[in-house]
């Protein structure tokens, strides 16, 4: 059960990080001069999403 | 394929107090040593260098500004000098003109005076000449008259008186 939950969490996070990445690419294409700012914010946001996913995965694994 | 419980062997998620102790010790030591020995000096050196570069740029800008100022000043000076020169030239010309005109005036005056003098002299000479001429004419006339009268008249004295009066009349006229 836990493994399935972890998988679902990873799925959600994957979609979320994919969206972040796609929007960041759009933004960079639109404003290539702001690439530094966009990259930093992208990594930060992705890290936050990933944090939530990892949280879910750990809880899923702990529940066995 | 195996009955080993996943978590039981997954020892990396079991925090070992020894490892915690050593991690903390090593990290804090590295932080302290690097902070003291490397990061602060590097930070200061970088800041120093940035300041140096900024100073150099500022100085360059200042020098350029000064150069521009100097150039403007030079131009100003040059302009002033040119004006001065023009003024001096003008004054010189004016002086020349006055001198010339004065000289001309003076020359004219002199000439005039000379002419005047010459005229007066001429008049004098003429007067003298006229007087002389009159005298000569008188004498001549007297001679003429004497001769005439000697021939015609014996009364010499009366004749002479008469002629003299005539001559005076002529002088008066």
């Amino acid at each position: 059960m836990g493994a399935i939950g972890a998988g679902i969490a990873a799925l959600g996070a994957g979609v979320g990080i994919g969206l972040i990445g796609s929007r960041a690419m759009d933004a960079i294409a639109r404003q290539p001069e702001a690439v530094g700012d966009i990259r930093n914010n992208m990594i930060l946001t992705a890290a936050l999403v990933e944090g939530a996913a990892l949280f879910a995965i750990v809880v899923g694994l702990l529940q066995g | 394929m195996t009955e080993v419980l996943f978590l039981a062997d997954f020892s990396v998620i079991k925090p070992d107090p020894g490892l915690i102790f050593w991690t903390a010790l090593i990290f804090l030591l590295v932080w302290l040593i690097l902070g003291r020995m490397a990061f602060r000096p590097i930070q200061n050196a970088l800041k120093q260098r940035e300041q140096d570069i900024q100073n150099a740029l500022d100085e360059a800008r200042k020098a350029r500004q000064e150069m521009a100022n100097l150039k403007a000043e030079n131009e100003e000076l040059l302009k002033q000098a040119q004006e001065e020169r023009a003024k001096i030239l003008k004054e010189a010309k004016e002086a020349k003109d006055t001198i010339i005109s004065e000289a001309k005036e003076k020359a004219k005056e002199e000439a005039h005076k000379i002419v005047e003098n010459a005229k007066a002299e001429i008049e004098n000479q003429r007067m003298a000449a006229v007087v002389d001429l009159k005298n000569q004419i008188g004498l001549l006339s007297i001679e003429v008259a004497e001769k005439v009268l000697r021939r015609q008249l014996e009364d010499k004295a009366g004749q002479e008186q008469f002629v003299k009066s005539l001559v005076d009349e002529i002088k008066l006229s």
């Binding site: 750990v58 | 195996t2 079991k14 925090p15 991690t23 932080w31």
Partner: protein, 429 residues
């Protein structure tokens, strides 16, 4: 042409790494198998081998878990081990110190301490002889716990008698399968050794850089100095300055730099498949937990009035929302370092596990030495995938160090910020 050459050399490099990894694991495997043999000899034909090596069969999970685990000795090459100092403390016995070589790879017990799969365990039974004692081997039994989970329990065999082995104490409070046992292990383990090495390398590197700055004062940087300056300036301009702010960033620059480089070096050393590397340092929860706790302390000790006000009594919102928000904010104080801890741990551990699993394909396909063709196929497939994963892990090593640093900087930034209350509320928690 030049680019082609570069690509090719990267590929060769990555392949060489995976091959090194393969060798390392192969030897480990061979050695453990050797261990199984001696054990079975000493077991008077006992029922089972230990761990996953029942009947000499290859157990991928056990092998992978063994390789990412911490150890009291450092495997160098072909059964050559670097002995590491052991410092052990049992409340009822006191301190025991020495080198891990005194255990002779699990054949000798010292003061009841036995080396089991590279890790020191202890016999708590007072009947076990003190001082040095020969042991015939270590056996494992499966025990069903109260909640139905199965667990391996190890026993040391001494003169035909089996004695229960205690693993080292862990401080997870039983949540993660650990517990406080009869002793504490303060040894210089493989992970500690690697961390020391990383710290030493960092100190050497940066002392050289700092020397450059002293030497080249009022001059252009040169050599290693100009190489490392890029990192310093990058961390300053991309991480600390924008995250912490112009006013406070200088105070925290050394901390963020130390974090970044310490994590980066530990990550990179974990990627080296042979001796000085290969330890799963940042993939160990104890390490990331310590780093996260230090970060937590740094952030909260530097918290300004505004920060605490935002945590306990968020200004600018209705009172009933404040009552809901305050617990959330307090919780988020702890979730932030917790997510730092989990993120680094999970990324690095997962990388190690994937690479080791791919290498394990060689042994799985080779049917544990029965099928040479299968092993060759496994080597090709596993090697290529491992090369690919190694490149990704190289990226991850930098990325995770960077993320740890940038998130720490942003937490510090939130703590030291003094705001005027209309902006800075869009920040997500």
């Amino acid at each position: 042409m030049k680019v082609e050459f570069k690509k090719l050399s990267i590929l060769v490099f990555a392949l060489a790494f995976s091959w090194g990894m393969l060798l390392a694991q192969g030897h480990g495997q061979a050695q453990e198998e050797h261990g199984v043999e001696t054990e079975q000899q000493g077991e008077h034909g006992g029922e089972a081998g230990h761990g996953g090596h029942e009947d000499g069969k290859y157990d991928p999970v056990g092998t992978v878990m063994g390789h990412i685990a911490d150890a009291n000795e450092f495997h160098v090459w072909k059964g050559v081990h670097l002995p590491l100092p052991v410092i052990l403390y049992a409340p009822e016995h006191g301190w025991t110190t020495g080198l891990s070589s005194m255990f002779q790879h699990g054949h000798v017990a010292v003061d009841g301490y036995v080396l089991n799969h590279g890790r020191v365990n202890r016999v708590a039974d007072p009947a076990f002889p003190k001082g040095e004692a020969h042991i015939d081997g270590v056996v494992a039994h499966k025990v069903e716990e109260a909640d139905g989970k199965e667990k391996d329990v190890y026993y040391a065999v001494h003169e035909g008698q089996e004695y229960l082995l205690d693993p080292p104490s862990t401080v997870d409070g039983g949540f993660l399968g650990g517990r406080i046992t009869s002793f504490y292990d303060f040894s210089i383990t493989k992970n500690v050794f690697t961390m020391l090495l990383a710290g030493l390398l960092l100190i050497l590197l940066f002392s050289a850089v700092a020397r450059g700055y002293r030497k080249n004062i009022h001059k252009a940087p040169s050599g290693i100095q100009s190489f490392m300056e890029v990192f310093f300036v990058f961390i300053r301009d991309e991480v600390t300055k924008p995250m912490i702010g112009e006013k406070h960033y200088e105070r925290f620059q050394p901390f963020i730099m130390t974090l970044f480089f310490f994590i980066l070096f530990c990550n990179l050393m974990g990627l080296i498949p042979f001796f000085p590397g290969s330890a799963n340092v940042t993939g160990n929860l104890a390490v990331t937990m310590t780093l996260a706790v230090i970060t937590f302390l740094v952030v909260n000790f530097n918290g300004k009035r505004d920060y605490w006000e935002h945590v306990f009594w968020m200004p600018g919102i209705p009172a009933w929302v404040k009552i809901i928000l305050t617990p959330v904010e307090i919780l988020s104080l702890f979730i932030k370092p917790f997510s730092l801890m989990i993120r680094l741990f999970a990324n690095i551990s997962a990388g190690h596990i994937i690479i080791l699993s791919l290498i394990g394909l060689v042994f799985l396909f080779g049917n544990n030495g029965q099928s040479v063709g299968g092993a060759a196929g496994g080597a090709v497939i596993g090697g290529l995938f491992t090369a690919f994963m190694n490149l990704i892990e190289l990226l991850v090593a930098f990325l995770q160090a960077f993320i740890f640093a940038i998130l720490t900087a942003s937490y510090i930034g939130a703590a030291v910020e003094e705001h005027h209350h209309d902006e800075a509320h869009g920040e997500a928690h």
